[in-house]
């Protein structure tokens, strides 16, 4: 149960992503709208791959790697956040190897069942999707993402919902952390919360979270918030931004229409012949 408290601690620090978004690297300086669009294209391309097309998917890892490096995002916290969701993806994919035994050739000398291939393809797709979303938040910040969504005419209600849900998660995590601490301080020697106390504790936490979320929303309303947040530093889209988008879009398109690993393999073997 030590692990549990660690997870809470890492989630408790959920606002770290917002802090990262305040950095000023090349990536951070790209227009939010452009980054949102690039992420959309990336996600569309990623999920559009057929479930048996594992090798074609691999070059897409290039995008998160480049982004994390250029934006100076620390790896560990990002991986930790991914760890929290990975069980979910495994849950979705795990039945494929059980039911799909169709043999498939990966490389000339290895044969694996189709189930395993599609399992890994789901793992990669899920992993890439989450990574791309985390990177977008860590390089742009939720409020700027929201204003970018408004620029492309996403309905106001939807954007507001997104913004408040995001806030709500951090409020929930903070309350969870507090409740956890309050319990642990008065339950010395216990490694985890006594199962009997889970019910009341969870109920209490939800009530408190609800109250606080309400007050936070009221505080926003008191200062004139009506669903349209203006982040202040709205810039114009520049040539640099368009170039950035074009480069990535071109790369995604090439990865989609050509199986790069196979191509490279052919070239290499061709040269060797």
């Amino acid at each position: 149960m030590i692990v549990m408290s660690n997870i809470i601690k890492s989630l408790y620090n959920i606002r770290m992503l917002d802090e990262l978004a305040e950095k000023r690297t090349f990536i951070h300086n790209i227009h939010p709208l452009i980054k949102v669009l690039t992420t959309c294209v990336y996600l569309t391309v990623t999920v559009s791959f057929d479930k048996y097309e594992l090798s074609g998917l691999l070059p897409l890892i290039f995008y998160p790697v480049v982004m994390i490096t250029l934006a100076e995002i620390p790896m560990i916290p990002i991986l930790k956040r991914m760890l929290v969701v990975i069980p979910l993806i495994i849950g979705i994919g795990i039945f494929n190897p059980l039911f799909d035994h169709k043999p498939m050739v990966v490389l000339p000398w290895i044969q694996i069942s189709g189930g395993w291939i599609s399992f890994f393809s789901i793992m990669f797709k899920g992993g890439f999707t989450i990574l791309a979303a985390l990177i977008l938040i860590a390089t742009t910040g939720m409020t700027r993402i929201a204003s970018a969504l408004r620029m492309i005419r996403v309905p106001r209600l939807f954007v507001l919902q997104l913004l408040l849900t995001y806030r709500y998660i951090s409020v929930l995590m903070e309350e969870a952390g507090r409740t956890w601490n309050a319990y642990m301080l008065r339950a010395p020697g216990q490694k985890s919360v006594n199962p009997k106390a889970w019910g009341p504790l969870a109920g209490q936490m939800l009530m408190r979270t609800y109250d606080r979320a309400q007050r936070v929303y009221q505080a926003m309303g008191l200062r004139g918030f009506n669903g349209e947040y203006n982040p202040g530093d709205v810039k114009k889209v520049t040539v640099k931004d368009i170039l950035y988008f074009t480069c990535w879009a071109a790369f995604f398109a090439v990865s989609r229409y050509f199986n790069l690993p196979a191509l490279i393999g052919e070239v290499v073997t061709g040269v060797m012949k």
């Binding site: 606002r15 917002d18 802090e19 978004a21 305040e22 910040g141 409020t143 806030r167 903070e174 606080r212 007050r215 936070v216 009221q218 505080a219 926003m220 309303g221 008191l222 200062r223 004139g224 918030f225 009506n226 947040y229 203006n230 982040p231 202040g232 530093d233």
Partner: protein, 262 residues
């Protein structure tokens, strides 16, 4: 000027769970007045302030700010006039940096960015928090959070400043700084608090609440000297008005006011 008069006319409010928090409050606060609202825990201070800002709407009665009644329709007008700081500054700070938080209000009212910047810096200077501007609000100490929360209210340049227990959880120095700041704010101030010494120092008028009713409304020095009344309402005479505990005679009040009159 009549446009900043705050008028409570026979206000009743009951929480959904049946708790009657405000039971017929009538009072008028004039332009430029500085009013302390005191009372024991649960007397209804916070509820009254939330009614004034339209977070809660009264079950019966009417609240007017200037000529405008507080209703759902007039909220945005009312809220531009009133700056409200919450009891818990954590509820008020939700942006990533202190700067963005202080800028949140002005930006919502469509003020252009150079003017926003001017206002933010001025508000931060007023509370002595310029050095905090790039910090994350949730990582500040209690006093620093309070300062940031007050700056966030001041940047809206309100005509009426409403505060719920502003000195709670402040160390003596931060409390002193806040009190000096409040003395410098010349518009209408409405402050709910247990800190009677502060009321004595910065509010000329005191309203005492008990169980959602006004028990007494008058000049601060008179009310805060009325031991019996305060006792009944679960309060205690301000230290400054108590006899010196060491020598048993003489009151600190005079010397205290002299000492801070600068």
């Amino acid at each position: 000027m009549s446009h900043h008069i705050v008028d409570f006319i026979d206000i009743y409010f009951t929480y959904p769970d049946g708790k009657q928090a405000v039971n017929g409050i009538t009072c008028r606060i004039n332009h430029g007045e500085s009013v302390g609202i005191v009372g024991a825990n649960g007397a209804g201070k916070s509820s009254l302030l939330m009614l004034l800002t339209g977070i809660l709407l009264p079950a019966k009665g009417e609240i007017r700010v200037g000529e405008t009644p507080v209703t759902k329709k007039t909220l945005s007008v009312i809220r531009q006039k009133i700056g409200f700081s919450f009891q818990d500054p954590d509820d008020q700070l939700f942006m990533t940096t202190v700067y963005d938080d202080v800028a949140f209000g002005p930006r919502n009212y469509g003020i252009d960015e150079p003017e926003v910047k001017k206002r933010v810096m001025k508000a931060l200077e007023t509370v002595g928090a310029v050095h905090l501007k790039d910090r994350a609000p949730y990582k500040l100490s209690g006093g620093e959070k309070r300062a940031a929360a007050i700056a966030a209210v001041l940047s809206l340049e309100p005509d009426i400043l409403v505060m719920d227990e502003p000195t709670a959880a402040l160390d003596p120095k931060a409390r002193r700084r806040l009190m000096n700041l409040l003395k410098g704010f010349l518009h209408t101030k409405i402050i709910a608090t247990h800190d009677l010494d502060m009321v004595l120092e910065i509010c000329e008028r005191t309203i005492v609440l008990k169980e959602g009713r006004v028990v007494c409304d008058g000049l601060s020095p008179e009310i805060l000297n009325d031991e019996e009344l305060l006792e009944q309402c679960g309060l205690e005479k301000p230290l400054a008005l108590q006899n010196c505990p060491v020598c048993g005679s003489g009151k600190l009040y005079g010397s205290l006011l002299e000492g801070t009159g600068k």
